[in-house]
């Protein structure tokens, strides 16, 4: 008979936000009736010749999946696939659905299907991010993949799309179609470019559209880029549309107004907008202090603005600031 370890072992886990109690399921009690009858007419120490291994106590109520994992083959198999159950249990409504599934019956087909696109190494990560995909009917998933193929996505592209964005297959073809259409219309992309964008950053397609709209507004109206420039930037660095609009504007303001970098240069090297502001700021201030903040390629001692974002500090100091890292560190302590 298997017993649970003391729950105090998971005391630390109990403190987590998973306040909602997960209810137990499974375990039929077939022997209970016969046992209680026996109990009435004989004493408790009497030996029983029947096999009692089927009788186990109820699963106690718990805040985490660790209490169930030793008794559930399904959960064990998920762990063997490298699925992080501690991440999943942060959302109790997901856990409720996952606990009702059986590995052989409900999950196996899905995992075999996904294996073609995701690969076994990435499967754990994929299922950790989106465990609810196991609850979708497999025909729907097939339809969604077929839709992508019908739109001219090659097998490699479909693979990249699905593995990079675990939530893609959750959206119905109608929604995906509408979203692809939105990007195509708004950025006036051709079919090839839409496919390129969707493959380069699949998360962008399923992202919150309100957020995307606001970021497009920030780039176009507040920063003052043209429509075609917006298109180029998004195709080059799609993550720009997924940034927080406030910090995006803050970065731009520093680069454009303090460092006096024209729009054209930013357009050529949009990665500078992806870097956190304090990094650009401290490197720029350091170069400024040394008198090396010269970002015009036509003049001598040119420092490309890429240098402010890329490479570790040692490399940056050696190549562009022409001094040792210690000097840079000393400078940082005066800010």
């Amino acid at each position: 008979m298997t017993l649970f370890g003391p729950l105090s072992k998971y005391k630390r886990l109990l403190n987590r936000e998973t306040a909602k109690i997960m209810c137990c399921y499974t375990q039929n009690f077939t022997y209970v009736d016969s046992l209680s009858k026996q109990h009435n007419d004989c004493n408790a120490l009497q030996t029983v010749s029947e096999d009692l291994s089927g009788i186990t106590p109820f699963f106690p109520k718990t805040f985490n999946l660790a209490a169930y994992v030793n008794n559930s083959e399904t959960l064990k198999k998920l762990v063997n696939l490298n699925v992080n159950l501690s991440e999943i249990e942060k959302k109790p409504y997901v856990v409720e659905k996952i606990l009702k599934l059986d590995f052989e019956k409900d999950m196996k087909q899905h995992i075999i299907f996904l294996n073609d696109f995701v690969g076994l190494e990435e499967m754990g990560n994929f299922l950790t991010k989106n465990p609810l995909i196991l609850c979708e009917p497999i025909n729907d998933l097939q339809v969604r993949v077929n839709y992508l193929e019908s739109k001219g996505f090659k097998y490699d592209q479909v693979k990249k799309v699905i593995s990079a964005n675990p939530f893609w297959l959750m959206l119905s073809t109608v929604r995906i179609d509408r979203r692809l259409g939105y990007y195509q219309n708004y950025l006036s992309l051709c079919g090839k470019e839409v496919r390129y964008l969707a493959t380069k950053q699949p998360k962008l397609i399923t992202y919150n559209l309100h957020h995307i709209r606001t970021n497009m507004f920030v780039i176009k109206e507040e920063m003052g880029f043209e429509d075609s420039e917006l298109k180029n930037m998004v195709l080059n660095k799609p993550r720009l549309l997924m940034l927080n609009q406030k910090s995006l504007l803050q970065r731009f303001n520093f680069i454009h107004q303090v460092m006096k970098i024209p729009h054209k240069t930013i357009l050529e090297q949009p990665e500078i907008l992806l870097c956190r502001n304090f990094k650009v700021k401290q490197r720029h201030l350091f170069l400024n202090k040394l008198g090396r903040s010269q970002y015009d390629p036509k003049k001598e001692n040119y420092v490309p603005i890429k240098a402010l974002v890329e490479k570790p500090d040692t490399e940056f100091c050696r190549q562009f600031a022409k001094c040792s890292v210690n000097d840079f560190n000393l400078f940082l302590k005066t800010l």
Partner: protein, 306 residues
């Protein structure tokens, strides 16, 4: 640099005070959060203890049962979560730095939180570099406020600033004796005062021990202030008052803490160095410093030590 063999050893060594450089526009809470999450990240990457075994007795109960030793799935980091989480670290500051201030910040980790409490109770002097600008006064006394007044500052010279600053310092000498909690005309006060500067008895009112203008390039100037019980807004008002006394106006453009007790700027760890190895190294140095200067934790008298 110390290389740790196991995460448990590393975690045990993380008891003490660390000295970090707080950047401006990052709150103390955020600093604590970053340090704790970084420590968890590094500890979880270190070699872990083996997964616990679990005894399972299986088979029908009316026949000989089988006893097996199997790995306990419930102990797998994938199931019970990472070994070290943020809540495992207690973290506390010795003295608060405001959102816009930067500089030396003392943090106690785990058992070190008692030390930070003692350091705080010992009231160490803190040295600040306060940057100000003449010609503009704002409603918050800081650069982020609304401008309420603009004035000329051509008449302000280095000598005038030095004069006003010396006056402020002298005025604070008197409050220093008043806050000592002793009767002003007693023999004890005389004996204390003859030994030099003294610490305040309570932690409510700011006392400035030294204030000096270290650079003056109109309209910008920098003051160096040594004080106890101060807070960032108080330093801003000092700059504002200085502007008024100079018959101009001024606002503060930055506050940087350059020393806390014996903890100097060189010791402070920059944001990019907030990793397990650097932090444990720093903790050792801080520990040695505290052992050499026990008066930081338990000052014997109210007289300031050098």
């Amino acid at each position: 640099m110390v290389k740790f063999r196991s995460a448990a050893l590393a975690f045990k060594s993380l008891n003490g005070v660390i000295c970090v450089y707080k950047p401006s526009c990052v709150s103390v809470k955020q600093v604590q959060h970053t340090i704790r999450t970084n420590l968890c990240r590094d500890l979880n990457a270190l070699p872990d203890r083996p997964i616990e075994q679990r005894v399972e007795i299986i088979g029908p109960t009316n026949a000989p049962m089988e006893v097996k030793l199997v790995p306990n799935y419930a102990d797998n980091p994938l199931v019970c979560g990472p070994r070290y989480i943020k809540d495992d670290f207690r973290c506390r500051v010795a003295s608060h730095l405001g959102l816009f201030s930067s500089g030396v910040l003392l943090l106690g980790l785990n058992e070190g939180t008692t030390l930070t409490y003692q350091i705080h109770a010992g009231r160490p002097t803190r040295a600040y570099k306060v940057h100000g600008q003449l010609g503009k006064a704002t409603n918050t006394y800081f650069w982020n406020g609304k401008t309420v007044e603009r004035t000329t500052y051509n008449h302000v010279t280095r000598e005038k600033i030095d004069g006003v600053v010396a006056h402020i310092q002298a005025a604070h000498q008197r409050t220093m004796f008043e806050l000592s909690g002793l009767h002003m005309e007693s023999q004890t006060t005389y004996e204390l005062a003859s030994k030099g500067l003294i610490r305040p008895a309570e932690s409510k009112l700011p006392v400035v021990y030294g204030i000096k203008c270290v650079s003056f390039e109109p309209p910008n100037f920098t003051l160096e202030i040594q004080s106890v019980n101060e807070y960032d807004k108080y330093l801003w008002t000092l700059v504002h008052d200085l502007g008024i006394q100079l018959k101009s106006s001024a606002h503060c453009t930055g506050v940087q803490c350059i020393r806390q007790g014996k903890f100097e700027l060189e010791l402070a760890l920059l944001r990019k160095h907030w990793t397990l190895e650097h932090l444990t190294n720093n903790m050792k140095i801080c520990h040695k410093l505290l052992e050499d200067n026990l008066q930081l934790l338990k000052p014997e008298s109210a007289v300031m030590m050098q």
